[in-house]
Subunit: 396 residues, 2 copies
């Protein structure tokens, strides 16, 4: 087995705790802080890969192991040569472990030391996921970054529940690491590339820190996860129903303590202002369904705040969604037209709003990186956050 | 009022009755025979204008007056500067008169000499359309080609019903022409452009030949429509439930008798083989919902025939939809992936299948034009039609 790493990560600039860097995967470099569009079922809902690549400049997307495992199933993806080959996306792919979806979709039946039993939301059949199965599936997918299989307690869980969950996560992290290393040694990863001077060509494995709202548990979880050793570290179990202040207490305490020489990933977060705030505490990677999901429900994220196209006030408004945005939707289409598409139930409403929302999220991250490199991050954050309040002040 | 025409039409090559030419509108030239994608509600469902322009090379699309009149309504489109400005599509637009949708959506309540009364499918309110209202609405839209307001009898209507319908259509055609000319004289057309050496900058008006399955009524309708005088002539009332042989009897008799120096438009037709067959009788323009509608229901048109992605045989098929197709969907995605998207209910299934289907229709018309120009149209038609049978012979 190669002693080269699967990924490399270099911090190029700092501004306070905020870092701008480059994460190099076997499928190319990714500037950080980075927002990863969520590609649940092997597709970022409503947007073509060509657009993600050429116009939006996305270099990494996320896939959901739970969804893909159930449909089309690991046999189909394996037979088609892995998830890159199956989907046609040749840039970097991160897959989650499946654990979170089992929990969040309410499909869970039983958690044992061995793993989780649940019912498929597709056909109701009984399914079982464990650290070993999750690693096997993610190897068959050939994702470039694999997430350890974790257990996520509710956001408001009491200390004893959170402790049990955190300790189980630590044991599962160990099992994930062992199985993952075995799979890599056997070269069972469908996405394997040739080794380079820098990288091994294998998958990378990220560990996940749990512990709910409890700082002592979070610290212990971080210590135990780092002891096992991963190529990146994620904060899991936030944005799951807890108060926002709880999330910031955890992130602001935890992120700066995470290994500085590996990427830090805040899972499932968040709004544009959340991303910028988390960057200020040293987070490098994000994923969230907000830009895509809200795009499908008529909501646009703009530099002035959120707009709901259901609102009749846009009926005759010939301005673009965001007058500061240069995306192809804002260059061509008016609020009046987009509202019409949404009210008419047209597919293109979802397509165009998803496009704009992703453009806004990805452009925000570009501006975040630029501001860190030029030492103006705090000023950027203040102005950006103030701008977002315009529509809420106008009660739009 | 300018004595220049609103459009010009030049036949550049003939092969039998088939013609290849150029229709020049105030928004640019269009090579014929041409397939016009249907943009019902100011959007060709599931496909962006950028893709229609850049990759698919569509130079004209169709809008449905009925749908746009009901939603967003003529006031919104007028306030936004007409349909080009409202939607962001700056190439040529043809709008139908609304009469066919009232009929086909079963919303019709009553036909009188004055017009048609019907219930809105959007909010159930009582509406009224007449030749004058249809011309007013199409002027407010600023479409480049306006269709006369006609009445369409059922495909299997007996002679007396078809005659009454045809005669009403002739009187409505006259009223359409009168109102249209008045609107142009008053420059009430929202899409008006500067006059050029060749063109007036005004809208063009097409007449519609009716008469059901009855050749004598069709001939009479053609004579009466040509007497009024239009910038193009359409065959209406086909593909509305009659036998296919009836359609070809009418088209093969009628099309060659239509004025040779104006474009001939077969409304609402059809499959790829239908388009090619109609071209062989001298038709120049087509529109049909098949490529877009069937794209949304998992059906692909290919050079080997129709494929239904619901069919389990494509589950592991890593070939493109059509191995002879060079569209961006076929260059990147497999049947297996597209089937997965369709089975998962993903928006992108509609987007990608619509794209491929339109690419196939528009590429077929390119090949039709080329074969006419090179005098090989009959050979092209034979080979093309034989190719389409492959999948039906294999019972796919």
């Amino acid at each position: 087995m190669s002693t080269k790493p699967a990924i490399s990560f270099e911090v190029l600039a700092r501004d306070g705790e905020a870092r701008a860097g480059v994460l190099t995967t076997r499928r190319g470099p990714i500037e950080t802080p980075v927002f990863m569009p969520v590609g649940t079922a092997g597709t970022v809902k409503g947007i073509r890969f060509e657009v993600l690549e050429r116009e939006l400049g996305a270099h990494i997307i996320l896939g959901n192991t739970y969804h893909l495992w159930l449909r089309p199933g690991v046999d189909v993806i394996r037979a088609c040569g892995g998830l890159h080959s199956f989907s046609g996306w040749q840039r970097a792919l991160l897959t989650d472990s499946g654990g979170f979806q089992v929990w969040s979709l309410g499909a869970l039946r039983k958690i044992t030391e061995e793993g989780t039993e649940f019912r498929s939301h597709v056909d109701g059949s009984l399914k079982f996921l464990s650290p070993e199965i999750s690693m096997d599936v993610q190897a068959a997918f050939g994702s470039d970054i694999v997430m350890a299989f974790d257990e996520c307690a509710a956001g408001d869980a009491p200390p004893d529940v959170s402790r049990k969950s955190m300790e189980l996560t630590a044991r599962w992290a160990n099992r994930s690491r062992l199985r993952f290393d075995g799979l890599q040694a056997e070269e069972l990863d469908a996405g394997r590339t040739e080794a380079t001077d820098l990288l091994s060509g294998a998958q990378a494995l990220f560990g996940i820190v749990q512990g709910g709202a409890h700082q002592d548990l979070r610290r212990e979880s971080l210590t135990r996860t780092v002891e096992i050793g991963f190529e990146g570290y994620a904060i899991g179990g936030l944005s799951v129903g807890e108060e926002k202040s709880v999330m910031w207490d955890v992130v602001s305490e935890l992120a700066p303590k995470m290994p500085a020489h590996w990427p830090r990933y805040l899972m499932g977060v968040g709004t544009p202002e959340d991303l910028v705030e988390a960057v200020s505490h040293g987070v490098d990677m994000f994923d969230c369904v907000l830009p895509t999901r809200n795009g499908r429900t008529g909501q646009a994220f703009t530099s002035r705040g959120k707009m709901n196209l259901k609102n009749a006030q846009w009926t005759l408004d010939t301005r673009p969604l965001d007058e500061s945005c240069s995306c192809s939707v804002c260059r061509r289409h008016s609020r009046a037209y987009l509202r019409h598409l949404y009210m008419s139930g047209e597919i293109l409403a979802s397509v165009l709003l998803t496009h704009h929302n992703l453009a806004f999220f990805l452009d925000t991250m570009r501006r975040v990186r630029q501001s860190i490199r030029s030492g103006n991050f705090k000023k950027f954050q203040r102005e950006f956050t103030e701008g977002l309040d315009v529509y809420s002040r106008q009660n739009v």
